[in-house]
């Protein structure tokens, strides 16, 4: 499989009133063609900042301290490479955004223009980027609306965003994102603002489109159920770092980082009888202005070693696809097992294999 996006050692910081917030600290990520990557983490873990850096969305108090984002794409049958961080804002907007990398935002109400019909909003990008004539753009817009499952596309073109329901609006946003045939689609919590039933539909829609067009998708989410459904590869972020990454099977069936254990354990399990208490990760996310010395997760980590409070752990490789940043994987560390309840749950999953409610 061809690698389309390579992020190395990306660090981003913000100047805030309280001091410098180091939102992303040395992120390494790869995205392969046709693959789905999910970035999981709590709010403030730096997942949105990472993908916004890919899109070249930089706020005025933000600086990119180090790193590279290398984007490879096929042009006229040949592979070309571009370093996205070297491009100016204008170059990003003209060459990359929309036509190569497109983004779907969380809230479909705020990402659509309320004063413009959805047909016009769909056609705008195509006329600008691909220099389509109005008739051509219109034809393709209808095609796109059909693809995202909007019935009566002809009539819907004249509608304004407020005339559509939340799920419909998100479908329109997806259609707009796909209009200029991007190679990479970034979805920033695309279903958080939607109901569960609509969420399932939208996720299935994106999967279907991916199958048809072969684009790569990056999901940002904090819902592990969504990750299980869509992702091929998962990166778990905490306090600006990737604490664990691996294939979806690595993360769900063989998690190694205590934070991943906590995330998996705190998901209510609907297939068994409810326990008396839900597992919780104690404490709350750290203040990113002055991060404590050592591993930022250490104060919330019931399995923390002494070393965790002194130095931040490096990333250890577990298998060719699976990495985790925890001192527990160091040779000198004592043998620590994941919590018993999680172990039995994983065992039930791997043995049960394919039983649905």
């Amino acid at each position: 499989m061809e690698k389309t996006l390579t992020i190395r050692d990306l660090s981003v910081s913000f100047q805030a009133t309280g001091g410098t917030v180091r939102a992303v600290r040395g992120v390494d990520l790869d995205l392969y063609q046709g693959e789905t990557l999910a970035i999981v983490g709590e709010s403030g873990s730096g997942k949105s900042v990472t993908v916004k850096a890919i899109m070249g969305i930089v706020s005025s108090n933000q600086t990119i301290d180090s790193g590279s984002i290398c984007y490879r794409f096929q042009q006229d049958g040949e592979w070309t490479e571009t370093e996205l961080l070297n491009l100016s804002r204008n170059e990003m907007r003209q060459k990359i955004n929309g036509t190569h990398i497109a983004m779907v935002f969380q809230d479909p109400m705020t990402s659509l223009d309320p004063t413009m019909s959805i047909g016009m909003q769909l056609m705008e990008g195509m006329m600008h980027h691909l220099h389509y004539s109005k008739a051509q753009a219109r034809e393709r817009a209808l095609e796109l609306l059909n693809m995202v499952g909007i019935t009566d596309a002809e009539k819907r073109m004249k509608n304004y965003p407020h005339q559509l329901s939340g799920g419909m609006r998100q479908r329109v946003v997806i259609a707009i994102a796909l209009s200029c045939r991007p190679d990479i689609l970034i979805c920033d919590e695309p279903t958080t603002a939607l109901d569960v039933t609509i969420q399932a539909k939208i996720l299935e829609l994106i999967q279907e489109i991916q199958k048809k067009t072969g684009i790569s998708v990056i999901y940002i989410t904090h819902d592990l159920g969504v990750v299980a459904k869509v992702a091929d590869y998962v990166a778990v972020m905490y306090a600006g770092r990737i604490v664990e990454k691996g294939t979806v099977e690595d993360i769900f069936y063989d998690p190694r980082h205590p934070y991943t254990w906590g995330l998996l354990s705190s998901m209510p399990d609907i297939s068994t009888d409810a326990p008396d208490r839900l597992y919780t990760i104690p404490g709350s996310p750290p203040n990113m202005v002055d991060l404590p010395a050592g591993d930022p997760f250490a104060p919330r980590n019931p399995f923390a070693l002494e070393a965790d409070f002194k130095a931040e752990p490096p990333t250890f490789q577990i298998s060719p696809t699976h990495y985790a940043a925890t001192w527990l994987l160091d040779d000198r560390a004592p043998q620590v097992e994941m919590p018993e309840s999680l172990r039995s749950r994983i065992q039930a999953m791997t043995e049960g294999g394919g039983v649905c409610v």
């Binding site: 709590e42 709010s43 939340g166 109901d195 569960v196 039933t197 609509i198 969420q199 399932a200 539909k201 299935e204 904090h222 819902d223 592990l224 159920g225 969504v226 990750v227 299980a228 459904k229 992702a231 979806v248 099977e249 769900f252 906590g262 995330l263 998996l264 705190s266 998901m267 209510p268 399990d269 609907i270 297939s271 409810a274 208490r277 839900l278 597992y279 919780t280 990760i281 709350s284 996310p285 999953m349 049960g352 294999g353 394919g354 039983v355 649905c356 409610v357």
Partner: protein, 307 residues
């Protein structure tokens, strides 16, 4: 009089948008809540679940139907006595912890506002004592009483919202999506806390949510709401193990599982009211067991229960 803590009978809440158009947000809903239990109300947005909560606590005036709370009818015109009863014994927790706290008041005063209005203390010390006690129960520091809401994180603010409701020692708390706006790791903390405090204070909860997995965890009984109709109600076990109504089934099938091998192959069951041929207004309540009821016509009942 009924022995239930809260009895809602045939509640209707209509909103007149224009002369010709009326939104029937809640259209004939009946259910009850017993003392100390948790009733979960689930449904998609627009199903009327928040409206029910708001009508019960009288943020809206119900169009018709009766709501009886501790033997007092609170759905009609409210006299001074009924108002006092309602406002002190029933409390509400709102969805958005960022929007529901007055930004210009200190947290201690926000929590004590209900006590102030109803003069529920003898002197300043007792007031202070009550505020500190509830804050400690919520896992907040005494010192936090002097701070303003913006100095807290989302999870902490929601704790303040819950403290403000529980300081009144209510018998019924209406929790309108109390965890939807929080991070996953914080959601579990807040739900555990609500469950612990329920044991301590003996309050009943009306827990409104669209996340069925959390509802399953906290509720004793569940009501499934769609388009203003309560389509199915039963114990948590009834709903999860023996769902009858196709809408309930589609809701259950939409919950994502944390198991990639299962999840990758699963396709959620769709449900479209318009094409399903079901007319909620024709249905009557059919009982499957003492606790489990479903809204449907006789033919539908026969069809759905056939194995």
């Amino acid at each position: 009089m009924s022995e239930h803590l809260l009895e809602v009978r045939d509640l209707k809440q209509y909103f007149r948008v224009s002369k010709k158009y009326t939104v029937k947000a809640v259209d004939g809903v009946s259910f009850h809540i017993d003392a100390g239990e948790t009733y979960g109300l689930v449904g998609e947005s627009g199903s009327g679940k928040s409206t029910i909560g708001r009508s019960i606590i009288r943020l809206y005036t119900p169009t018709s139907g009766t709501v009886t709370f501790e033997g007092v009818e609170i759905s009609g015109a409210l006299g001074a006595k009924e108002t006092k009863h309602l406002r002190t014994r029933m409390q509400m927790i709102f969805q958005d912890p960022m929007a529901c706290l007055n930004p210009r008041k200190k947290v201690g005063d926000i929590i004590a506002q209900g006590l102030d209005i109803h003069h529920l203390y003898r002197d300043r010390e007792e007031r202070q004592e009550k505020v500190y006690r509830i804050m400690e129960k919520m896992g907040l520091d005494r010192e936090h009483a002097g701070r303003y809401p913006h100095q807290f994180s989302g999870g902490q603010r929601q704790r303040i919202g819950i403290a403000r409701a529980l300081v009144m020692e209510p018998k019924l708390v209406i929790a309108d999506e109390p965890i939807s706006a929080l991070d996953v790791s914080i959601q579990a903390q807040v739900v555990n806390l609500m469950k612990d405090l329920q044991g301590e204070l003996g309050a009943a909860y009306l827990f409104i949510a669209h996340d069925l997995s959390m509802v399953k965890y906290i509720s004793d009984r569940i009501g499934v709401l769609h388009l203003g109709h309560l389509v199915e109600t039963g114990t948590t076990r009834d709903i999860f193990e023996r769902p009858i109504h196709p809408y309930t089934k589609s809701l259950l099938s939409a919950i994502p599982h944390a198991d990639p091998r299962v999840e990758k192959q699963r396709v959620a069951i769709g449900y479209d009211y318009k094409t399903s041929g079901i007319d909620y207004t024709l249905g009557t309540y059919h009982s499957l067991s003492e606790t489990h009821t479903v809204l449907c016509t006789d033919e539908e009942f026969a069809k759905w229960t056939r194995v």
